[in-house]
Symmetry: C2
Subunit: 301 residues, 2 copies
Amino acid sequence: MAYPMEGLPQQVTIYEVGPRDGLQNESAVVPVEVKAEFIDRLADAGHKVIEATSFVHPKWVPQLADADELLTRLHRRPGVRYPVLVPNLRGLDRALDRGVDEIAIFASATETFAAKNLNRSLESQFEMFEPVVARAVDNGVRVRAYVSMCFGDPWEGPTPIPQVVTVGERLLGLGCYELSLGDTIGVGTPGHVTALIKAFRRPDKLAVHFHDTYGQALGNTLAALRAGVTTVDASTGGIGGCPYAESATGNLATEDLVWMLRGLGIETGLDLGKLVATSTWLAELLGRPSPSRVVQALSKG
Amino acid sequence: MAYPMEGLPQQVTIYEVGPRDGLQNESAVVPVEVKAEFIDRLADAGHKVIEATSFVHPKWVPQLADADELLTRLHRRPGVRYPVLVPNLRGLDRALDRGVDEIAIFASATETFAAKNLNRSLESQFEMFEPVVARAVDNGVRVRAYVSMCFGDPWEGPTPIPQVVTVGERLLGLGCYELSLGDTIGVGTPGHVTALIKAFRRPDKLAVHFHDTYGQALGNTLAALRAGVTTVDASTGGIGGCPYAESATGNLATEDLVWMLRGLGIETGLDLGKLVATSTWLAELLGRPSPSRVVQALSKG
């Protein structure tokens, strides 16, 4: 039974990040055939966007060193998008070689994280992204931009909203079709979410990406939906974390999000039972329980 | 830094249920001096309402068999309320003997749970509560009424909103000063919360009591605050559970709630650091980690 709520969208796109963002922090390498099956199960559960992998250098993320092979093994389904993360021109060329038609880039909203994660200044990251986005767009490839540390980072405290907006508008100006505003360390609260989204000129260009480190991810999502966002990033079973905050729990769990949206009568096209079965299967392979409350409740029940 | 949000109250009362609702499902009996210290620590962290214990028969809740002794050991502070749960007239007399000035009763919104938990029909529970509330009020004792299974129960599916309202209004009519609307199995979503609260004539008489079984507790709290509720039940570190749903995780964690309210600039009078320290101390005594995300994040650092 659904109980709609005023001011919310009728439909939400869940952008599934489990295979890339979720797995990339796993130390034990997951075999490529398991990854392919994982993605296939997600599509079978109704996902229409599944970020499949990353063309980052294997030295930095050994878990995703099999990106080329994984893309060969994918059973692509009509109507399902399989974007991949691309850090630079070299990564883009690998993606283009594989016929990828959608990529994501990973930017920073703060100076310190730009230095630590990209080895760039906040300003000079755009010089790095500009040719990547240009070449992608020239090749008919859509580009999504992650903006990380939008609410705060471990070094600088709360991120000033105008600074996030400046970074985001620059990335849209380069030609990105969507910004994913990330609360990478999970410190945001609903009023902050509302204020940040309202500060952008085009909420229809925004997605949100919350981490549940302080239990705020779902309340923040509710605030984002009220502010006009209709694309929400989530990770199967809540897998993933932030390597820069040891205590960080993972991404918002897809299942917990689907539970809320289903209760609100908001269409996602997803089959909750299949999602829970996939998370339970994956948790067994990873050797530890899913952090998702819904998965915990429904798999024991 | 606080980011207020339109339509929310400036101040929220957190009704702390950890010592009673949290501990009552613990199988290993916690020593009475530990309980007294627990309550003292909560008051020291700034709590103004702490449900201390229950005068239920020890046969049903052995953990709280020490209620009389606990009340003797309490270091009562001016301005802090220490209500106790009372199931019947006998329990009330014990409470009056101890000079308790506020009690809580525990009602059901569904037929099946009334039968299982109270051995009563939905209708006949009022016959049981009527003399308890009357005698309490005659003695100058305030009475709060919990209404359990307000969103659904494990047997009947979603609870019809008019049925909850009827039960609640009857309890207010008996003389209760406040209703605590409980999502005992954690199935509610924000639109359901809004609809239920709006169906009551007096939102100022309502408190909410959410369980985080499906990760919805904090999003539901946000909806309740928007609908005019200013009293929220929570449990230290999220301890407690529902004995009728094995997989159920516990109450909304006080710390996760305080994180959200602090971010929203809503006054609670609570010291988050002291709350986390208390939950960490209690988790060690209980021999397992707190389910609160905030406690997990801040105690690992």
